[in-house]
């Protein structure tokens, strides 16, 4: 039995999720909340990758493999990002990105 849900539904959902995540990145002040927005955007990309794999090439492996690479990049990104946030917290006692202005002339 193939999927009964059309591909467009997944693409619509991923588009909405991506825009919500991008809104979070642009509108939040907390550095960790911004990272969470990035994670939502990466999840939207992954939904697209898996949906295209399922609907266009279910016999191949490339779609799922690229979703796995996105996982690896997301894990690396969140590890380095949180380490930076903790280092900033140590030196500046803040996690509000507007207060991190060490490089401001």
């Amino acid at each position: 039995m193939g999927p009964q849900i059309p591909l467009e539904w997944y693409l619509f959902l991923a588009a909405a999720l991506f825009c919500i995540g991008a809104y979070g990145v642009l509108s939040r002040r907390n550095a960790i909340a911004i990272l969470m927005g990035v994670e939502l955007m990466l999840n939207a990309v992954n939904i697209n990758l898996v949906a295209f794999w399922r609907f266009l090439e279910p016999g191949g492996a490339v779609g799922q493999a690229f979703a796995l690479f996105v996982y690896a990049v997301a894990a690396a990104e969140v590890a380095v990002g949180l380490a930076l946030i903790i280092a900033t917290w140590r030196t500046r006692e803040t996690v509000i990105l507007e207060d991190v202005d060490l490089l401001k002339g």
Partner: protein
């Protein structure tokens, strides 16, 4: 309206509703919990797309790993729990004004294309195919190793940056 449609609507609502709460909650800890809910919805969508391995990976890496890391970081930087903090910056209206049309444009672009109908069922050995492709020298062995090196470098870098001096 079949059972699959109902499941898609339920998981999609969990995903999008959780995501909306992530970007609007003022308390970052609440936002992190809603992010876990949203990730769970995405895992359900992977099951619907007949990618069980990715659904499991979603549970392990996102819900089990990344969410815990984020919650740890929230706990380590207590200031974020302060309820008096304003959650959004001064440009949030501009961000919404840009993002709503972007979403509309994306949806319009997707719907103006005639997408292929669903093919037959997924081969039963799709996980085997994926595993073999990842270690096949003609296939994806090189990107797989590069991803491994990237993870190693990122983890060493994270330890170095976050270490107490």
């Amino acid at each position: 309206m079949t059972f699959q449609h109902v499941l898609f609507i339920v998981f999609g609502a969990i995903t999008l509703g959780g995501a909306l709460m992530v970007v609007t909650r003022r308390n970052v800890f609440n936002a992190a919990l809603f992010m876990i809910l949203s990730f769970f919805g995405v895992a359900g969508l992977y099951v619907l797309l007949e990618a069980p391995f990715l659904a499991g990976v979603q549970l392990f890496i996102y819900i089990g790993g990344i969410s815990i890391l984020i919650i740890f970081a929230i706990m380590l930087t207590r200031d974020m729990m302060n309820p008096d903090l304003i959650g959004r910056n001064s440009q949030w209206i501009a961000a919404a004004v840009v993002m709503v049309p972007l979403c509309a444009i994306l949806i319009w672009t997707v719907s103006s294309h005639d997408w292929a109908a669903a093919p037959g069922p997924v081969p039963e050995n799709s996980i085997l195919t994926l595993g073999q492709a990842l270690v096949d020298q003609e296939g994806l062995a090189l990107p797989f190793e590069v991803a491994s090196v990237l993870l190693l470098v990122a983890l060493i870098g994270a330890v170095t940056i976050a270490r107490e001096r």
